[in-house]
């Protein structure tokens, strides 16, 4: 059900790979290629049948048209006046508290590249559906026709008065870093970019438990991040915030280990300050060269790079510390098949896929995080909150029994969503960012209620025929 997480940018990816830049990632087998093809056909059929995945419906009774004198003019003027006097009351007197914008410029949609805002719409609708279904969040898809990072920032600043939060989606790296930072700095509502924060939170959660399962301490572990795209750059930042020694951390992109004296370091200082800062902070863990040089003796490999099962060599894993941790997170094909990583000595393996154990899945994160920040009417979403979500994911999996095959909750463990939401909301209160300060139990109840309501609503709409049942048979194309 979760959207496939993408592999890193070609530009930010990893060691040279046979996969041509911009090409669709090659599925592993003919069977998988067929499966992907079949799902694609089905998606197009159903898109034609339903013509959109979300809609707005009234949430107030309209007994007669007279009721519009309170829902609309003249009565509504008093509500507007109240908000004019106290703008914060927009969170209480309108749907703002539960409404977020899903904003994209269409510059990096799935693995499809820069396909533009119209073509990004089906993906944004799908995301809106996930937000509603898993988090009870009203999410409005808003693909924007903008040409620069500044235009995108400006557009979102202007949209913000209608929303309690913003979810940025499918924006190319490194543009996405500046857009997120700038909007987080300037807006009084939470702004999130899933490719950075969601994926990083899920990765960190999995790693916390992988360290436990292999009896390691984060502070003394040596970690290699293969691929320096949106997700891994944020994962590195979060790990350092969690107490990982930056000098025992290295990032590897297709030019090798990021370190302060790499040949292109001055170019990075100008064009990619996020990589530059991490190069200085980590100093490449004292190493230079390629991925193999980085991995010798390392405890942890976090790969978020090229969707090719030959990206990570078994020999690299054999050169790591005994019983290493291997996350191969490229989608749809991991950087090494789990079986091969295990053969090469990996103690635990995680991937981005639901058909292997330990799926690192951002769908466990974003609906719950937004449920939490919206319930707390949070003003922002700093890394402390992202880490609170990661910790709750890790704790939740641990409560259900940790093992090398169960590092993370699965999507079937429904209780994880309200738990993460309540933890996030509580953390916003602790950090002084909440407009609404409740206790953990109250936030938990609220989150459960919002999520249950959506499930009941969806079931009722289907039962009463407002949502059409899913057609089984292939649907013939419409007559022109």
């Amino acid at each position: 059900m979760a959207r496939a997480r993408r592999a890193g940018d070609p530009a930010d990816g990893t060691p040279p790979s046979p996969a041509p830049e911009g090409a669709d990632p090659a599925p592993a087998t003919a069977g998988e290629a067929e499966q992907t093809e079949r799902l694609g056909t089905r998606s197009v059929e159903l898109a034609r049948f339903y013509q959109g995945k979300v809609e707005t419906v009234p949430k107030v009774p309209v007994r007669s048209l007279k009721d519009f004198s309170v829902w609309y003019t003249p009565g509504i003027a008093a509500v507007s006046r109240a908000i004019h006097e106290q703008p914060e009351r927009s969170f209480e007197l309108t749907g703002r508290w539960n409404t977020i914008a899903i904003v994209t410029d269409g510059s990096r949609v799935l693995g499809l590249g820069d396909i533009g805002p119209e073509a990004a719409m089906p993906v944004m609708e799908g995301k809106a559906l996930l937000f509603k279904f898993l988090g009870g969040v009203d999410a409005i898809p808003l693909p924007l026709r903008v040409t620069s990072a500044d235009e995108l920032i400006d557009a979102v600043l202007r949209l913000a008065p209608a929303f309690g939060g913003v979810n940025l989606e499918d924006i190319a790296s490194p543009k996405c870093f500046r857009v997120l930072e700038e909007l987080q700095r300037r807006l009084p509502i939470p702004v999130w970019h899933d490719d950075q924060l969601g994926t990083a939170a899920a990765t960190v959660a999995g790693l916390i438990n992988a360290l436990k399962v292999t009896d390691r301490d984060l502070r003394s572990s040596r970690t290699v991040l293969l691929g320096a795209g949106a997700a891994n750059l944020v994962t590195a930042r979060l790990l350092i915030a969690l107490g990982h020694d930056p000098r025992r951390l290295s990032l590897v992109d297709q030019k090798g280990i990021l370190e302060p004296e790499r040949d292109d370091i001055d170019a990075l200082a100008l064009n990619h300050p996020w990589k530059y800062r991490l190069a200085l902070q980590t100093r490449g863990a004292g190493r230079r060269g390629d991925a193999a040089a980085a991995l010798a003796g390392a405890d942890v490999l976090l790969a978020a790079s090229t969707p090719d099962p030959d990206t990570v060599k078994p020999a690299w894993i054999r050169s790591m510390a005994p019983r290493p941790i291997v996350f191969a997170l490229a989608n749809p094909v991991p950087e090494i098949w789990p079986s091969r990583a295990l053969e090469a000595g990996a103690a635990v393996v995680a991937t981005g896929r639901s058909d292997f154990p330990n799926q690192v899945n951002n769908s466990l994160v974003f609906p719950a995080v937004f449920r939490g920040v919206l319930d707390a009417r949070a003003r922002s979403i700093p890394d402390e909150i992202v880490l609170a979500a990661a910790r709750e994911l890790a704790d939740h999996a641990a409560r259900h029994g940790l093992s090398a095959q169960h590092l993370l909750p699965t999507m079937d463990e429904h209780e994880v969503f309200p738990r993460v939401a309540a933890r996030v909301a509580t953390r916003s209160v602790e950090l002084g960012l909440a407009r609404r300060r409740l206790g953990y139990e109250e936030f938990l109840e609220l989150a459960r209620a919002r999520m249950d309501r959506t499930h009941h609503l969806a079931a009722a709409m289907l039962r009463d025929g407002f949502t059409l049942p899913m057609p089984d048979e292939p649907i013939p194309p419409e007559e022109p």
Binding site: P260, E261, D263, I265, D266, A267, A269, L270, N271, Y276, A279, L280, R283
Partner: protein, 178 residues
């Protein structure tokens, strides 16, 4: 190859002590290779700013020749920046300057900062400011009555750096390909 002794008027090879993670001293023949590497990094950085500053293929050999000749030239000032902390003794920066006559203007002698480069780990922390003051002092000692700095127009970081320290643009250098 003969070792050039530091020129009599050159800053002593005994470093100036500072509270910074670096110290500055006159360059010697032994610094040649690290200084060449640093100069090339700077020229490649300039290339990032402007395609008119594309680094030529034999730049490394030419840099080596130029620096070697400047080690023995009293008008040239070549300073090596040396790390003092974790990487003590390593050459982590270069300052290259010279004194030129101004035949039409007064003051008649101009101290020109041609190149300043520091490895990333040694940037900020007021190191740049300290280097500027050091080089200004040396150039003044050699009779310079005005201090200038050359850098790519597009390098806004350098513009800001010098702008904050009392410099302003005086002569513009426009270029077009032929």
């Amino acid at each position: 190859m003969t070792e050039h002794p530091p020129h009599p008027s050159a800053p002593a090879a005994t470093p100036t002590e500072t509270a910074l993670p670096i110290r500055v001293r006159g360059a010697t023949e032994a610094d040649l290779e690290p200084l060449v590497a640093l100069m090339l990094r700077l020229k490649r950085l300039n290339e990032e700013f402007d395609p008119m500053l594309e680094v030529r293929p034999d730049a490394e050999a030419r840099t080596r020749e130029i620096l070697r000749s400047e080690l023995g030239n009293p008008r040239a000032l070549l300073l090596a920046v040396e790390a003092t902390g974790e990487e003590a003794g390593k050459v982590v920066g270069v300052v290259r300057a010279t004194v030129r006559e101004r035949p039409f203007y007064t003051p008649e002698s101009e101290g020109v900062i041609q190149d300043i480069y520091l490895l990333p780990l040694y940037r900020r922390r007021r190191v740049g400011e300290y280097l500027l003051e050091e080089v200004a002092r040396h150039l003044k000692e050699r009779g310079a009555g005005i201090l200038t700095a050359e850098f790519p127009t597009q390098n806004e970081i350098a513009s800001r750096f010098y702008g904050k320290r009392g410099f302003r643009p005086v002569t513009a250098l426009y270029a077009r390909r032929l």
